[in-house]
């Protein structure tokens, strides 16, 4: 294959975009499917990278080179059917750029990535009260969008497999290395190739629009992300609660239990998890009132929701709730009793944001064993 006989097909942007998206989607898939939730920030950065890539690709699809332009390579149903029929008959000519079936795959891949970004941002906002939708999305909306996100993620994996299979099939059929073409950008020129009409790409125009839109997204994202989160009232601190309760343990955020359970807990302080923690009536009443006002019933965080399902056998212990037990099931009991953790009620030993009641997965770090 002589160099003089090759023709440029994939421009530098398309090739960079393709392999960068492979990296972004792989990182998102590994961190989302395989790694523990403590890797959530890596997952979010992978998604953010994919978002920036997708924006650039959409603009390049308007102002890029001929094989990048959606209007040129995306075909209607009639042409797709013609292509399929010709494939069956074994007389389909080669498309230098995307063939009509490949074009459908590109739309499906980009569209699925787009929907993954939307549902991911909505889930992050609703469940963790973080990101640009943290101010607006409820927990229930967030868990719903995250389920959609998971289904879409599996669907994307199926698409990726089909995309690779399609490329392998087309490469065998036309006897060419399509992966190499996506690296070098060039293909061998042949007779009867389908080619698209030449157009001049407008990189500066695309870059300017990209810069403006990206700046808008970044500015808007930061502005929205800085708004107060939805359904997370900041509890007014109570000095009596802080003094009395944190004499022995961390001042558990009131949003971790329903008012009903706090009420029971405050009524049996003389047998408080195996110790007498009784208080005078004035202090007991003040703390009970404050706990009622800030209990999980009126808070929309994930901990407030998941710990509301208490264990009937032990309704006062957060560490007995089904959610707590399930999320900590892989940690051996001995880990909880060794220094500097000592007890599974010592949330802050591993959750650096325990005091706020947020319990964001990226803020988990199990400390190394220390001498007692």
């Amino acid at each position: 294959m002589a160099d003089t006989n090759t023709t440029p097909v994939w421009d530098k942007f398309i090739r960079t975009f393709h392999w960068a998206l492979v990296l972004g989607v792989s990182t998102a898939a590994v961190s989302g499917f395989l790694l523990s939730p403590t890797w959530i920030n890596l997952h979010i950065w992978a998604g953010t990278t994919a978002a920036v890539l997708l924006l650039a690709r959409l603009l390049w699809g308007v102002w890029g080179s001929k094989n990048a332009r959606f209007a040129a390579f995306v075909k209607g149903p009639r042409e797709v059917m013609t292509h399929v029929r010709e494939l069956k008959d074994g007389k389909a000519a080669r498309h230098l750029g995307h063939n009509p079936l490949g074009a459908l795959m590109i739309i499906a891949l980009l569209g699925t990535v787009f929907l993954l970004l939307l549902t991911g941002v909505a889930g992050l906002g609703g469940v963790f009260k973080a990101g640009p939708l943290g101010f607006a999305a409820s927990y229930n909306f967030g868990t719903f969008t995250l389920s959609v996100h998971e289904v879409l993620a599996i669907f994307l994996m199926v698409l990726v497999v089909l995309h690779i299979a399609g490329a392998a099939f087309e490469g065998m059929r036309t006897k060419e290395n399509l992966v190499k073409a996506m690296v070098t950008g060039n293909k061998e020129k042949r007779k009867n190739d389908h080619d698209l009409p030449e157009v001049a790409s407008r990189p500066i125009w695309a870059a300017v629009v990209f810069g403006i839109v990206l700046a808008g997204f970044v500015w808007g994202g930061i502005w929205f992300a800085s708004k107060p989160p939805f359904g997370v009232p900041s509890a007014p601190p109570n000095a009596t609660y802080a003094d009395e309760c944190s004499a022995c343990h961390m001042a558990y955020p009131p949003s971790l239990l329903p008012a009903k359970n706090w009420g029971t807990l405050m009524s049996v302080l003389d047998d408080h998890f195996g110790e007498d923690a009784s208080l005078g009536q004035v202090a007991t009443d003040e703390i009970t009132t404050w706990l009622f006002e800030n209990a999980s019933d009126s808070v929309d965080t994930k901990p407030a929701h998941v710990f509301s399902r208490t264990n009937p056998q032990s309704p006062l212990a957060i560490t007995s709730t089904p959610f707590w037990k399930n999320t900590h099931r892989n940690i051996p009991d001995a880990e909880f009793t060794r220094p500097p953790i000592y007890d599974n009620g010592n949330c802050a030993a591993c959750h650096s944001d325990a005091d706020s009641g947020a319990f964001y997965p990226a803020n988990i770090s199990i400390p190394k064993e220390t001498s007692p």
């Binding site: 961390m250 195996g274 110790e275 007498d276 000592y342």
Partner: protein, 133 residues
């Protein structure tokens, strides 16, 4: 000159605070003496109480030393891992200066460890031991 004066004032303030704290502690001990009808307390009896192993209280806390360790000058730890400042007055000079706080913790911890409230005599012995440490 100015520095010396500052140090002198700070030292005097510290000394004053220590004297005041001692006065408050003496007042609390005197109160228990009056309740118990005794003229003096035994630091040894206080030590024995501090180190005693009991079965009458709650299962998780058979002794004061469960959380406070057997050495009053060492820091203790609550059952959920929170550090407790040493009980010995020499280590934690602000100990036993607030009568309400002293009563609160005697009430709670005697019930947890012994299964009953402590007598004024036991409280006085205990404080006398901790003051001597």
């Amino acid at each position: 000159m100015k520095k010396t004066l500052t140090i002198a004032i700070a030292a005097a303030a510290l000394f004053g605070a220590a004297v005041a704290a001692n006065g408050q502690r003496d007042g609390i001990v005197a109160g228990y003496a009056a309740q118990a009808g005794v003229s003096s307390f035994s630091a040894d009896a206080g030590r024995t109480l501090f180190l005693s192993q009991n079965t009458g209280g709650k299962e998780a806390t058979p002794s004061c030393s469960t959380c406070h360790t057997t050495d009053p000058t060492a820091a203790g730890r609550t059952r959920v891992g929170k550090p407790i400042e040493p009980m010995a007055v020499s280590r934690t000079p602000e100990r036993f200066t607030d009568p309400d706080k002293v009563e609160k913790w005697f009430r709670r911890n005697c019930t947890s460890v012994l299964g009953r409230e402590c007598t004024p005599e036991e409280k006085g012995n205990f404080l006398t031991f901790m003051i001597s440490q």
